[in-house]
Amino acid sequence: MILTMNILRLCLLALGARLVLIAYGEWQDRTMLVKYTDVDYYVFSDAAQYVTNGQSPYNRATYRYTPLLAWMLTPNIYISPVFGKLLFVLSDVIAGYLMHQILLLRGVDAKTSKMCASVWLFNPLPMGVSSRGNAEALTIMLVLGTLYFVMTKCTNTAAFLYATAVHFRIYPATYALPLFLLMDEDYTGCTCNRKQATKTMSDFIGIFVNPSRVQLVFTSAMTFVLLTGLCFVMYGQEFVEETYLYHLTRRDIRHNFSVYFYMLYLTSESEWSIVMGIVTFLPQVVLLVAVSCWLYRDLPFCCFVQTFLFVTFNKVCTSQYFLWYLSLLPVILPTLKMKIQDAVTMATLWFLGQALWLLPAYYLEFQGQNTFLYIWAAGILFFAINVWILIKLLNAHVHEPMFSKGKLVKLNMND
């Protein structure tokens, strides 16, 4: 049935399903002690309330986002508390639509594109997350918008959306290098620099600098500086600390999925702390740079791998972060040559790894048992499963450059 409907009807259906979930959530919140709505949504709403009173949104403890989000959610106070959720589910559905359009651009047939987009549109995970009032859908929509406009070669629009995405969340900053590298002669279509020997400094610079790259860097830098500068002028150093520095220097000793969790807890407040900071940072940086340089020609796949690495090797990892790379999975599916059984095995192990972690975590948090070592072991196991999954995906990936002679190249779907 899905395959007979066009993409707009599918999006409307997906939107309808999310609206039903929002309605259910409102009912549950009013009648039960355990709330459907995410704690973060109340944080956003409280911050929006402060903004409507002319105060800083950072008066609300644990608000660690851009003030723009609080500003966007002021209708929560003036119109209805449900406004924010409506905005997030709409962004979620738009993200699904963008996935479909990106796949069509790459030459994937309509049927497969609709199926891949449906993996997101009718997936209970993003449906639940957005209807509970989580703002990840906004960043995901901006990232997909960036990919779309890069593929249609609207460099300025892509750069603007990209800078906005980075303003909202730090993780898209890892796409800067692949985006820059992608805009080479294959992207611009200009072969002028290819055969020249590098004799002078200007020749050397000429290899790296071209109009597209200038547009990319200039537009994204200007957008980011304007957005961040505006927020800094309004809210000062507190904005920088809460929105960016907190996430960059975050050392949460509370248990979480990160492979480094127990190691950081045990070395907190000791002379090893700084060494640990470096040890945890180094693999992330090395891997991100290497992957950027090797895989940039297939930008969606490169971004997927970047994000997967960022999350898997991060000092703190919560289930919210998984959406960051899951949102790029539908877009890379056609480039993966893989048997269904393998895909099912991977998905099963991924869920199993989380379940095996949640078990000792439950006993620690809700039964007060000392299961720290088991949580650590489960964290190592989940990390190993994630590494295995990534390697399988890398092995299954057929790497086809997106651009050649200035034009988008369609995927070869016949192998």
Partner: protein, 307 residues
């Protein structure tokens, strides 16, 4: 969506009523007098009065911060009561607990001569915190209204946190054994610093019994005169800036003890080695796979470039 309590009072404080000079002066004098009384009574009973003086200071600071000092203080009358029973239990296990407090006024006073209200003052130790937003949700389901005398950082570890005081307001219920007051407060244990070699693998957090205060409306001198050293100023209601005098009742509950599991330094060797090996091995394998993946290029594209 209701703002947090801290935000609510900041909003009120920006719309202050005009200062009534004499009323403020009277209130300020009374508060100063209370502090003096508590301090001088310390000559007889130093330990109890440290606590009383600390409580008065915290309450006064809070009243000033929330703009209640311009209001007239409402006095209380003090019916004589024999010992009040305070019973405390903790429900659930782990880091998230419910602390149940039951206050029973003795049967002999089954009918109080004047309308009265109760207020619990909790001193939450550093190893624990209360999430005010969670408490606000529970108010709709019969939970108490809670005021925090200071901002509470819900994310900080135990050794980096101070203790804090809470005011719990809840209506009095009439039961078969007289007046009872049952309050359930959700608390959360904080993460503690790891246990060094040879240290206990769990930490103990001690929650002392609350101070039970009562405010009764009426004209003096209907009942016995109030003992000044047992009077404390506090907001009359959770939502108001009016200040009432509250009488501290006899009756103290036994402290509750909570065990918090700790990470252990004896694991450090294994954990650091294991994590480093896993991260290094994982990185190496991924680098190799990514390098292989980047070499697979489009067959037709490769042919085009060769032409």
């Amino acid at each position: 969506m209701q703002p947090s309590f801290g935000g609510q009072f900041e909003i009120f404080s920006t719309r202050r009523t005009s200062v009534r000079g004499m009323t403020w002066l009277t209130s300020a004098c009374l508060c100063a007098a209370l502090l003096l009384i508590h301090n001088s009574a310390g000559l007889k009973n130093p330990g109890a009065t440290d606590h009383a003086a600390e409580l008065t200071t915290s309450l006064l600071e809070f009243i000033v911060k929330t703009g209640g000092r311009e209001n007239r203080i409402q006095h209380t009358v003090c019916p004589s009561l024999s010992a009040v029973r305070v019973n405390r239990t903790a429900q659930n296990q782990g880091f998230h607990r419910d602390v149940v407090t039951e206050v029973t006024l003795p049967v002999a006073m089954a009918t109080l001569p004047v309308p009265c209200r109760l207020l619990l003052v909790e001193t939450v130790p550093a190893g624990m915190y209360v999430d005010l937003h969670q408490v606000t949700f529970r108010t709709d389901f019969g939970g108490p209204q809670v005021l925090a005398l200071r901002d509470i950082d819900v994310e900080q570890a135990a050794h980096q946190s101070p203790h804090h005081k809470l005011l719990l307001y809840s209506p009095l219920q009439q039961g078969p054994k007289g007046f009872t007051w049952r309050v359930v407060l959700p608390v959360h244990l904080r993460y503690h610093r790891w246990a060094g070699e040879g240290e206990d693998t769990s930490a103990t957090v001690k929650l002392e019994g609350p101070d039970v205060l009562m405010h009764c409306e009426g004209d003096r001198p209907v009942t016995t005169p109030c003992e000044e050293s047992r009077l404390f100023p506090a907001p009359c209601y959770a939502e108001s800036q009016e200040v009432c005098l509250w009488q501290l009742l006899n009756g103290k509950a036994e402290p509750l003890l909570f065990q918090v599991p700790l990470g252990q330094q004896t694991h450090a060797g294994l954990v650091i080695t294991g994590t480093t090996v896993a991260a290094a091995l994982g990185s190496w394998l991924i680098l190799a796979a990514a390098r292989r993946a980047s070499r697979v290029s489009r067959r037709e594209g490769a042919k085009n470039k060769e032409e």
